[in-house]
């Protein structure tokens, strides 16, 4: 299923300024998702992070992966967010900057008792910026 489609606001409960997925490029529920986030100078957090040297906070790269992970769920999450339960092996290799087209790639590693482990990479033009494993829980 390709999902330019994905009516993103219908699927994720997140809203401006915290909706951090712009497009879903590839989607195999339960297996793998590739999404995109386009970073612009207008992002509210860039105003102070940092003054004169805007770069996307690392924790927001993790949040982008978590939100992309929301599309691993087959059904819409509207009204029932998934929550972060853990972050493992997070590495930040290079900064994400205004103008970057970020590729958010996540795959499901396994699930048990309502918890899912996903592994993801944020990259830009073929260069990895951030890799991490996330534990998410649907409530």
């Amino acid at each position: 299923m390709t999902a330019q489609s994905a009516d993103i606001p219908a699927h994720l409960p997140h809203r401006y300024p915290f909706l951090l997925v712009d497009r879903v490029l590839e989607r195999e529920p339960g297996v793998r998702v590739v999404a995109e986030k386009l970073v612009t100078n207008g992002e509210p957090y860039l105003q102070g992070h940092f003054e004169g040297r805007p770069l996307v906070p690392g924790v927001l790269l993790l949040e982008m992966l978590a939100q992309a992970g929301g599309f691993l769920e087959a059904a819409s999450l509207h009204g029932s967010a998934i929550f972060l339960a853990g972050v493992q092996d997070a590495r930040f290799k290079a900064p994400a900057l205004p103008g970057d087209r970020l590729r958010l790639e996540v795959h499901a590693e396994g699930a048990f008792a309502g918890l899912m482990k996903i592994r993801g990479t944020v990259s830009c033009e073929g260069r990895d910026l951030c890799t991490a494993a996330l534990l998410v829980k649907r409530l």
């Binding site: 339960a85 396994g110 699930a111 048990f112 008792a113």
Partner: protein
């Protein structure tokens, strides 16, 4: 200690990063969750993934988990039972 039980304990220690713990410090019959090793639900998912990776045994659902995670002994028995040719 049976060879399989030792491998199960090694897997638990490695997967859950129980640094400084040795296999003989894990009681065969103590519960893995709650009072025994005091593991939580994130540890449970890590164990499910570790058991699949190391022993090729799937713990399909919570009912199977409830049985397998009673103790190291129960987990060893569960793996032995599901790896029989």
């Amino acid at each position: 200690m049976s060879d399989l039980k030792l491998r199960v304990k090694d897997m638990i220690i490695e997967r859950l990063k129980l640094e400084g713990m040795t296999p003989d410090q894990i009681d065969d019959d103590a519960p893995l969750f709650g009072d025994g090793l005091g593991l939580d639900s994130i540890d449970a998912l890590e164990l499910v993934l570790g058991i699949e990776q190391v022993f090729g045994v799937k713990i399909e659902d919570e009912a199977a988990g409830l049985k397998a995670f009673k103790s190291v002994q129960a987990l060893t028995d569960f793996i032995a039972e599901h790896t029989k040719a």
